[in-house]
């Protein structure tokens, strides 16, 4: 049985790797994350047949396709979906952003929100619940909620609205009782909420595909761009920009940043929460 010993990653190597990773992604690994990072680096070294870190680093750094770097990034990002994930963004939405958007639009015009990728629906449904519970503006303004994914299986699941206990554990109990019915240990989302989200199949990187997605006031695009390479990420940023009304906002995932993607958006902050705004007037 072959069990090749992988080199331990020294401090100097870790420093170099950390610096390069930060340059490319904006993600900085604290020293306390050594174990986490080393483990994943070793996994990738093994997967690519490298026993020395130097060999792996050279391979990864100079690979024209950038595929291994992407594999590495993917392995570093934990992506579990559940209700009220990164809740501070929903809070910023209902506390400040919706009012601001409401102020931009004439009476009678819907506010449109896009959640992409929808995955199994936790994100768009979280948005719906948050708006109903916490945004008073809903009394005088219609909001349309659209959510998209490239995977039809996942969309089908989202439409059903049946969730595990784990998925709803971040929701305060009174709200779980209000919006879900517990059936055999699973949680069925109410019809009212399910009907408030329109799900569509879509590929954000397909230009023709995306022409239909327009005039959004608010976009949630969380933990999608991190899985793209540089070129695709920039392409997606163009699509997202096109999809927004002037003054509209976009949220990315907590470890994602426009700083490695695009300077078209205005950086806005609501407390500690970063959101990116499409300029109000033509251009920046």
């Amino acid at each position: 049985m072959n069990s090749v010993a992988l080199d331990k990653i020294g401090a100097a190597d870790f420093e170099r790797f950390r610096s390069m990773f930060y340059r490319k992604t904006g993600i900085h690994f604290e020293d306390s994350k050594r174990y986490f990072v080393d483990k994943r680096l070793h996994e990738r070294m093994k997967a690519t047949g490298h026993t020395s870190f130097k060999g792996y680093f050279t391979y990864m750094r100079f690979q024209a396709s950038g595929e291994e770097f992407q594999n590495l990034v993917n392995s570093m990002t934990v992506n579990e979906t559940y209700f009220f994930r990164e809740e501070y963004q929903f809070e910023a939405m209902t506390r400040e952003i919706m009012d601001e958007l409401d102020g931009y639009r004439p009476a009678g015009e819907d506010l449109r929100i896009w959640s992409v990728p929808s995955s199994t629906g936790e994100e768009p449904y979280s948005i719906a619940i948050y708006l109903i519970e916490y945004w008073k503006g809903l009394a005088h303004r219609d909001v349309e909620l659209i959510s998209s994914d490239i995977d039809s299986n996942v969309l089908a699941s989202a439409k059903k609205g049946l969730y595990s206990k784990r998925s709803v554990q971040n929701i305060p109990l009174p709200l779980v009782k209000k919006y879900f019915k517990e059936i055999n240990g699973q949680f069925q989302l109410s019809d009212d909420i399910r009907e408030s989200v329109s799900f569509t199949l879509a590929n954000i990187l397909s230009a023709n595909n995306m022409k239909q997605f327009r005039h959004f006031d608010l976009i949630f695009c969380r933990n999608l761009l991190i899985y793209f390479d540089d070129e695709s990420r920039k392409k997606a940023a163009q699509v997202l920009f096109d999809a927004m009304k002037p003054g509209g906002y976009i949220f990315l995932g907590h470890s994602e940043s426009m700083s490695r993607i695009s300077s078209m958006f205005k950086v806005r902050k609501f407390g500690d929460v970063i959101a990116y705004q499409k300029p109000l007037t033509g251009g920046a």
Partner: protein
Amino acid sequence: MKTVMIVDDASTVRMFHKMLVTSPDRIIEEAENGVEALEKAIGTNVDLFLVDVNMPKMDGYRLCKEIRLNEALRGVPIIMISTESANQDAERAYQCGANYYMTKPVDADTLKSVVSAVIGGEANE
């Protein structure tokens, strides 16, 4: 405590400048480009920006303008640092809102003394 934000896409330049200006009563923040600088600076306290001109995504001139447009940050001093040595580049920096302009390679003593003049205190020797 005073906060100095060093904005430069060259990691070793950030390290070098950080080494020059660091002291126990100063917090040093770093950013790789103008967008990241704004993400970190907006809504926080920054007492001085050291800004490189040539950076990807958002350059130093544009960052200066954005800082001056931000209500809370508009009064924060900015030292612009550039490899370009023509006079018109200094002019341009001042028009964008920079307070000081230095060309690379930055003279260590000059940088230290300007920083101290702006935010007080002294760098470690």
